[in-house]
Symmetry: C2
Subunit: 483 residues, 2 copies
């Protein structure tokens, strides 16, 4: 076994060099790699399998709630992109432009989709004529392209990213607003119950909302380094797009009405979030409900035991699979079991089962939890049941740890000096009063690097004076430096 | 009900104006629509649902046979695209180029992926160092972009199309060749057993093979208008790409070796094929195994019966679903049942169940087959079982009809005059000897519009003299005009 490659372990510490640690996890756990064009990444199969888990969970919920999928081309004519002015101005600095096809200049420049509102709505306008055509609720699984000028980071900030974008059209504003809330709750369910990351939910400020929206609702998460991450957004577009795109319908009242709209999306950023929140110095830790492999079985054998041990391990794999557990047997003979332990820890598989000749004699196996790294023996007949229980416990434990992180990194500074030193120090969310004026929001950003991440729906705390200017505040906002 | 919109029926006849008929089916059955940029289409939910069926069938088979999915960006640097010369020359006339990001010129031009061999292999070269890393078998579900100069046609020829592209790397040529054959068989299974279209399988000629491949294997189908359609291809790349991209591995023999490669793909063209082959003057006819909705239940009621009939119909829907049948109840009150019959026929749902108050009294329903348009009564308790049987029969019937079409449109012309008049007349496949020379292949194309579509694996017929030059022929080729 001397010729086997070195185990590709993480050499950076999460607590010491967070950014380097993150990059190593992404690359060494086999999630993604850099593409030849700067700012772009490719997904390796393990990374893509996590995206498939996320996609399948959301796709099922979208369909259960009456949404359908569609396809839109990646190219949008410049004139169409410009039809809603704020929207255009917001995206124009980061648009990739196609100007040639083969050797020929094309007429009008074509934008690579930064988001599809304009393209979708120019077409929806043709499809919708009557109240009978409403609501229209379509989701698109695709990628969006935004030329990133800032430093890029796999999953968190890349010039092309996988996402879903939903677009709906409704007959009334109330129905559109219900949709905005429904989707935010579907996102919450995905992020909290599957990805095991708690969120703060609420509104974006006008400065931070989606360009073209009446308002944006958001889910914000807190990463281990004290920076916030926007996990998903759901926008109420009101009639801001239906006016320029003339999305009108004939009502039951035989009158023509402008329609009401929403749009919403989450991206592979969620993979970045789960790496940052759950990972440790050994690598990735995947929440069981999302993990492509929930249980890895590592047979421990010498040549003379190989057949018996592998056969036994294969039976175990099939028992687990029959019970709906995503189990995988690593029967490769060209790697030692020690090498495999390291690799599957690096890849964050929640539970490992070690099985060797002595275990078989004794009728036991060894279970090793990835999150706590505890090992425990288990009777062979109880493995399936115990594995199920343990996966549930790991899921809960990861969420609880993430909740503790969020609590530890949420503070209520009493004055602006404390606010500033917080942002310069351990970071996290500062929950503080805000007068509602752009002036203060911009000055705080300039002086501390902190944005208003979210104005929570849950305003349990009594609104105070604005943390900067001291004027009366109607709402408490959560400020943070962010990705 | 006088205000309900007119039923959007097909006005062209399949036998009279095939091209117009096809376009009407695509648009009126709600499969796709034109995008604002010429040559591009959007998929509406019903069209996308058919693509999802195709994708799910293939994805399951790919995974069962050891393939995994990944993601590649849509942008490829020009230098990378040019590294394999034949490949580059083949694609360059139809490449869309990005030359700007925001207001800035970018350095090197970026191609929108016409296919991903070059990008994938520049990265695979980093991932593969040892025999332990092989085989590498990755599939990508994405879209490809090729600026179409010829007349475009939804699903058949568009400047962006949905597809999957598989890319594999192997330690030996034999293993690569087995992969090429395995994939072609997975495609055959999809196309014949699910899409219900028979195919002729074999090799492409050197002129028609994938640019950069050693050889291309193909599945060719015959459309109702006598034109052939390439349904899927699987390429043996040999070491043509591993050389320029330096995909090398250290073998068990501790020597360095060049790897062997394959690539393969099918696109949403398959949707075009099923429309053309199975459709009729009433619209689409979907093979049951692929249909997003297999059984549509139309309740027939007046106001006073509405509740009873709908409740009964809903029970039926849930019984069918419990048995794994994709059933849908059309309970909309704003359309008449006659309107619904037309719409679901247009959309090609294989089986319709009509249920009215008199049926409920008698304990029966009415079944209406889409393919034969036969109606038959059925006892309420036997519905699930009968529907299952009928769906199987429809699947078989569609395949048998398509097989008859293929047989009717395959001829063996005795001489070149007969060959020519065949191509100018009813079209179809001409099975004929070919000397193997490019010269004859090109002259036949020029004079008759017919390509060599496929040199069948199954050379049951005795090879004859070349249909054009009369020189000895080793193989029989299938010629046809094609999409």
């Amino acid at each position: 076994m001397s010729s086997q490659p070195e185990s590709p372990g993480i050499t950076a510490k999460k607590g010491e060099n967070f950014s380097e640690w993150y990059t190593q996890v992404v690359l060494k756990a086999g999630l993604a790699d850099y593409a030849p064009v700067k700012g772009f990444i490719v997904l390796r199969p393990y990374g893509y399998a996590i995206w498939e888990s996320i996609r399948d969970i959301l796709d099922r919920r979208f369909k259960e709630t009456g949404h359908q999928n569609g396809f839109l081309p990646v190219l949008i004519p410049e004139s169409l992109l410009g039809r809603e002015k704020d929207h255009f101005a917001g995206f124009i600095p980061e648009v990739f432009w196609v100007t040639k096809a083969g050797d020929n200049d094309i007429g009008e420049r074509l934008a690579l989709r930064p988001t599809s509102e304009t393209l979708a709505y120019s077409i929806f306008a043709k499809w919708i004529t009557s109240y009978r055509d409403l609501p229209l609720k379509i989701n698109y699984w695709n990628s969006a392209l935004r030329a990133e000028i800032k430093a890029t980071k796999p999953f968190i900030r890349t010039s092309e990213f996988l996402w879903q974008e939903g677009h709906t059209v409704h007959a009334s504003e109330a129905e559109a607003e219900q949709e905005v809330a429904l989707i935010l709750d579907i996102y919450r369910e995905l992020i909290e119950e599957h990805i095991a990351v708690p969120t703060v939910r609420g509104f974006k400020s006008d400065k931070e909302k989606f360009v073209g929206a009446k308002y944006t609702t958001t889910l914000e998460g807190m990463m281990s380094d004290g920076k916030a991450l926007q996990m998903g957004t759901s926008h109420h577009l009101a009639q801001n797009f239906s006016k320029p795109f003339e999305i009108k319908y004939l009502g039951k009242d035989t009158q023509e009405h402008l329609a009401w709209q929403t749009s919403w999306g989450v991206s592979w950023r969620l993979i970045g979030a789960l790496i940052m929140v759950h990972g440790d110095d050994k690598g990735l830790i995947l929440p069981p409900r999302l993990a492509p492999i929930q249980v890895i079985i590592v047979p421990i054998f010498r040549d003379k035991d190989a057949q018996v041990v592998i056969e036994n391990a294969r039976n175990l794999e099939s028992e687990l699979r029959q019970q709906g557990i995503r189990a995988h047997l690593d029967a490769r003979s060209e790697y030692t079991s020690g090498w495999k332990f390291n690799e599957w820890e690096l890849k964050g598989v929640p539970l490992r089962i070690n099985i060797g000749p002595r275990d078989i004699e004794k009728g036991t196996v060894e279970l090793a939890r990835r999150d706590t790294r505890e090992k425990s023996p288990c009777g062979r007949k109880l493995v399936v049941e115990t594995a199920k229980e343990m996966l549930d416990k790991i899921q809960i434990n990861l969420y609880e740890k993430a909740r503790t992180l969020l609590q530890d990194k949420t503070a209520r500074p009493h004055d602006y000096a404390e606010f500033k030193s917080l942002m310069e120090g351990k970071g996290g969310f500062a929950s503080a009063g805000w007068c509602g004026r752009l002036e203060c929001e911009e000055k705080i950003k300039e002086e501390t690097g902190a944005d208003i991440r979210v104005i929570p729906f849950d305003q349990a705390e009594k609104p105070e004076a604005c943390i900067l200017c001291g004027k009366p505040s109607e709402k408490v906002a959560m400020f943070a430096r962010a990705y």
